[in-house]
Symmetry: C2
Subunit: 439 residues, 2 copies
């Protein structure tokens, strides 16, 4: 039977990495997971496919347009487009079996049929942590979030980055005070763009919203205020704004800021920025963004905030929470592009064993011993010349190569070569294990 | 705005675990991943969605009926239903950038719209390893596979399990010898069921295939032959079958069996079983199945084999390979059901810190120190009575609880309690870290 050859291709907007890139990607994933777990978050895993009725309980507009939806049997199905809606469903469904505060992380792929363009993906990994309370959740949890962000990016190898924090209640209270509460959403969405489009353009847009020059001036004076967290806090405390929303937001911001040093977050990695606003209909208190100092063009690489009611579409129970999300696929793509990440090796192996002869039995028994001691070991099993074998080991960028000839076999030894330094020794397996474990 | 409440529910056939179960599931996933990596397999990750034209290049029949398929824009899309077809696409697409033999593992969800029934899932994890050669691949690789299976199940906590091995060429050669090569597929599919339905029913089915009583007798004599691997090998060597297919299969089986002891596979965990045949149109040489001695009703928990041509639908290049797959979702479900797995804790945390006061700042700085030393730490941050806090710690099944009152804070100490033994000590953080690290 003659075969038709189909061109093997991957859809645009779907990341598919070569092994050397995948190894780097998985290292990042592992670092994020380990940091989340170090803060005591437990894993959950929700289905990629859910009933459309369930997943789209809240959605509308852009979300509905972007989803991957299909019929199967009697079911109208949708692929998850974030990890927050599945979390809401999960918590509402299992509320009797969960212990609150419920600390969970979830790392997984989500799907959005956006127009594909450089750095935008239709299938991408989100890495989320959330803390969910039953009825109430202490503001102290909001302080833990910047600590999680800090340690995650520190562990990912970044030194210079800044966590921007604000509180939505301060913004809402300010709008109330300035008597523009009816246009608060538009005003804040506009102010949120100061960094991106500049003050002048923001002023122009605000004028178009029928905001008076006087009010714009007052807004800008507050929202573009710079200074240390304590300077900004005293500035806010001295403002003649008495409404409850503003005062609550101020107290929350203060509580969070005061706890941060205890959580090991250095002050140079943290600032209060009154202009950040984020998704305006979801967050209700503290909000977070994270900027890499050397790569500001990447935008916020980790964002989130406090919300009053996680699962209002699924239960009448009040479930407040606070959380963050890292969009890892996009971040990885950009870090590769700017050269922060560089692929070094095509293998996870620590060592490749090269048998001199076609009989690999000695190599296999050496490999078994090495693996027992935690050394990741590949045996080259093909019938090739010694030069070809060494060439293969070189190409995959492995750290150590072990030569196993007749002499080595007779003496139960190994000739081990460290590839980057060229150092080579014939030694016992114990010595070889010790050498590799210390690298 | 009044909200409509949608019942939060998960589709049948889609596994969604509680945190205490998810922790166990992830431990299994991690063990499998670590074992695969210890053999030098590198990770790859392919999209969950592919073009139908690409993913269904080979499919037909049942596969086409079971797939999740949808239209989006101009694209006809299909969700992956295994990890082998995506591997074939991946290797064919990247053939210029990969180094052969290419050793990859992939762990991920696949989707099949089967009729849901107990223990059958529509979304499930597959954990695959494959070794792919360019043009040729040494038979020695086939010996490594049982070693991977053995170490994986050993590391998963199993003692008593058996890896069944056979070689398809021996079966084909036997059919050729008995002059039933035209019905080989049906005959072998029938013989494959001996363990399940018994010899009598198999004989009956073979008669219906117009196989003579004499041939059935000869077939059964060979395929139901029991004994040690070397007994079965000498039995086969003494058979008067001279065709090349049979002889090649015999030599391959011999080569693999001889290497196994070098790879640390004990003989009690391995046997040659001439009756196993597996997916008959795909595998061309060595085949593997794995049975847990105590749970034979689970069927094969890890299967695979050698194939001549991985990617014939995507490239003219000959890419032989050998690999195995573990269907983890089903295995996990069954192991929970038979009680092999038991959920113990709702958290990945090692310790939960309970501040006596509402101010958690001392607890947070203790947590920061513990996390720095690799201790996964949760701080209980809610305003509750001490009894309620302790009750929460008890309910989530945590190993250690740390009490942080005024005295502890003054002295920079912690009162640590090991929950299962009840042992309690007030000590320095160094002592506490040492205690927990040694558990």
């Amino acid at each position: 039977m003659k075969q038709t050859i189909i061109e093997p291709r991957t859809l645009p907007g779907f990341m598919e990495l070569l092994p050397e890139e995948q190894i780097l990607f998985n290292q990042m994933l592992e670092t994020i997971k380990n940091t989340y777990e170090s803060f005591g978050f437990s894993p959950i895993d929700t289905p990629i496919i859910e009933l459309s009725e369930v997943l789209l309980a809240k959605a509308g507009g852009d979300t509905e347009k972007q989803i991957y939806r299909m019929s199967k049997g009697d079911h109208d199905l949708t692929m998850r487009y974030d990890l927050t809606v599945p979390l809401a469903k999960y918590v509402a469904k299992n509320v009797q079996n969960l212990k609150f505060p419920f600390r969970r992380y979830q790392i997984g792929k989500v799907f959005r049929g956006e127009r594909p363009q450089s750095g935008r993906f239709r299938e991408f990994y989100q890495c989320d942590v959330d803390i969910i309370g039953d009825g109430a959740l202490s503001i102290q949890n909001d302080a833990e979030i910047p600590a999680i962000i800090y340690h995650t990016f520190k562990n990912l190898g970044f030194q210079d980055f800044k966590i921007f924090m604000n509180n939505r209640k301060i913004l809402t209270g300010l709008c109330e005070h300035l008597e523009v509460l009816d246009r608060a959403t538009e005003v804040l969405r506009c102010m949120d763009k100061i960094l991106k489009i500049g003050q002048e353009k923001v002023e122009k847009e605000l004028l178009e919203l029928q905001i008076s020059q006087e009010t714009i001036h007052q807004l800008l004076e507050v929202l573009s205020r710079k200074g240390t967290p304590s300077e900004i806090l005293s500035f806010l405390e001295n403002m003649p704004i008495t409404n409850e929303t503003f005062q609550t937001g101020l107290q929350e911001l203060k509580a969070v800021t005061l706890l941060l040093p205890k959580l090991g977050v250095p002050m140079q990695n943290f600032c209060v920025d009154l202009s950040i606003a984020r998704g305006l209909d979801y967050y209700t208190g503290t909000i977070y963004e994270t900027i890499l100092d050397e790569y500001p063009s990447l935008g916020s690489v980790c964002s989130g905030g406090r919300y009053d009611n996680l699962a209002e579409h699924y239960t009448k129970r009040q479930l407040p929470g606070v959380g963050i999300s890292i969009g890892l696929t996009r971040l990885f793509y950009q870090l590769m592009k700017v050269g922060f990440l560089k692929a070094k090796t095509l293998t996870v192996s620590d060592v490749m064993l090269l048998p001199f002869e076609t009989d690999s039995s000695y190599a296999m028994s050496v490999a078994t011993t090495l693996r027992k001691h935690g050394i990741k070991t590949t045996v080259f099993l093909e019938e090739k010349s010694f030069k070809q074998k060494l060439n293969h080991a070189n190409k995959i960028g492995i750290a150590f190569v072990g030569f196993l000839g007749e002499d080595e076999q007779k003496e139960g030894r190994i000739t081990l070569k460290q590839m980057d330094t060229g150092e080579q020794r014939t030694c016992t397996l114990e010595e070889a294990i010790h050498w590799m474990q210390n690298m």
